[in-house]
């Protein structure tokens, strides 16, 4: 099973350089609960300059965003047991006094509009309004209203204390690559 060099159509060295020194962790591939827990806990090891509270925030943000990739990616790999796993990319970077966490995955263009609208709503709200929005959406979910319930993105914005930096890049006529980035400052605990 030795791999011949001509079997590679990319430069691992270029990839390595692209993942420059600001990138602490990167992963591309199928995402399931095992991968999430392992990478989530691995991130806690590499974000050593963060306080305990910062680490908690990173972990919470990671779990919600990675779960979205897992559940909503348009690219998936089928398992033998019939289940399928969403594919996506997770990156944690470190820039001076903050960490950045980015997730990305391919989405169907028809599915992504409400998600973008939700992100824009979240970014337009101040903290108190965001808390109210979370209460309202959780209440709707608990009353079983359809198309509600995903409060993960609201939670991410509240936990990170950061807007959701979203980007949509067309892949083909039906699909796009969607990414969400959030900043988490190294010690953003407020004493007030």
């Amino acid at each position: 099973m030795a791999k011949k060099k001509e079997n590679y159509d990319f430069s691992l060295f270029e990839y390595h350089n692209l993942m420059n020194q600001n990138i602490l962790v990167s992963y591309k591939g199928p995402i399931d609960e095992r991968i999430m827990t392992v990478i989530g806990e691995n991130i806690l090891l590499v974000t050593e300059e963060g306080s305990g509270k910062t680490k908690n925030k990173i972990f919470k943000v990671f779990m919600e965003l990675a779960q979205n990739v897992w559940l909503y990616s348009a690219e998936s790999c089928k398992l033998e047991n019939g289940k399928s796993l969403g594919m996506g990319t997770l990156v944690v970077g470190e820039y001076g006094d903050y960490y950045t966490f980015v997730t990305g995955n391919v989405v169907h263009n028809t599915d992504i509009v409400p998600v973008i609208e939700k992100c824009e709503t979240i970014n337009s709200l101040d903290r108190d309004s965001l808390r109210e929005y979370r209460r309202e959406q959780r209440r709707l979910a608990n009353e079983g209203k359809p198309n509600s319930g995903n409060i993960g993105l609201i939670q991410v914005a509240l936990t990170a204390e950061s807007p959701l930096d979203i980007e949509l890049t067309p892949v083909n006529d039906d699909e796009s690559f969607f990414s969400i980035a959030v900043k988490i400052s190294k010690d953003n605990y407020k004493n007030s």
């Binding site: 827990t37 972990f59 779990m63 209460r135 209440r139 608990n142 995903n150 409060i151 936990t159 605990y189």
Partner: protein, 131 residues
């Protein structure tokens, strides 16, 4: 009626420790809640509360000591708090204590649970508790 005892697990998923005592009415939910099938896990807990409040009708004391819960779990926590509020409204004796780890964000979330459910929750910093 039966008690519920579930030992917490921290593996690929995180199962909280659950101890619901039907003799004393003391219910503990602690650890981490991130589950494969959140509703499936919480459904027996809802059923226990329903049975207790309809048949035993004794006092209920809930102690939450959750260091981590994801958003899916938070929906089930609100469902539990709703049931407790309903019981209290119908004359049941209910005490709810939420132990939190000095995190402003968790404090805000519990304050939001109070606003969402109308239930009084005693918010207690773990640092003030000596055991």
């Amino acid at each position: 009626m039966n008690d519920i005892h579930i030992k917490g697990v921290h593996e690929a998923f995180f199962v909280p420790t659950v101890n619901f005592d039907s003799k004393t009415g003391v219910c503990e939910l602690e650890g981490e809640s991130y589950l494969e099938e959140t509703i499936k896990f919480y459904t027996p807990l809802f059923a226990w509360i329903k049975e207790y409040t309809e048949t035993v009708k004794g006092p209920l004391k809930f102690n939450f000591r959750l260091s981590y819960f994801n958003t899916s779990s938070s929906k089930c926590l609100v469902d539990i708090l709703d049931m407790l509020k309903k019981y209290q409204k119908s004359g049941g004796e209910v005490e709810v204590n939420w132990y939190y780890d000095d995190s402003e964000e968790e404090l805000e979330e519990v304050e939001d649970f109070i606003l969402e459910t109308g239930l009084d929750i005693n918010i207690i910093p773990i640092s003030e508790v000596e055991e």
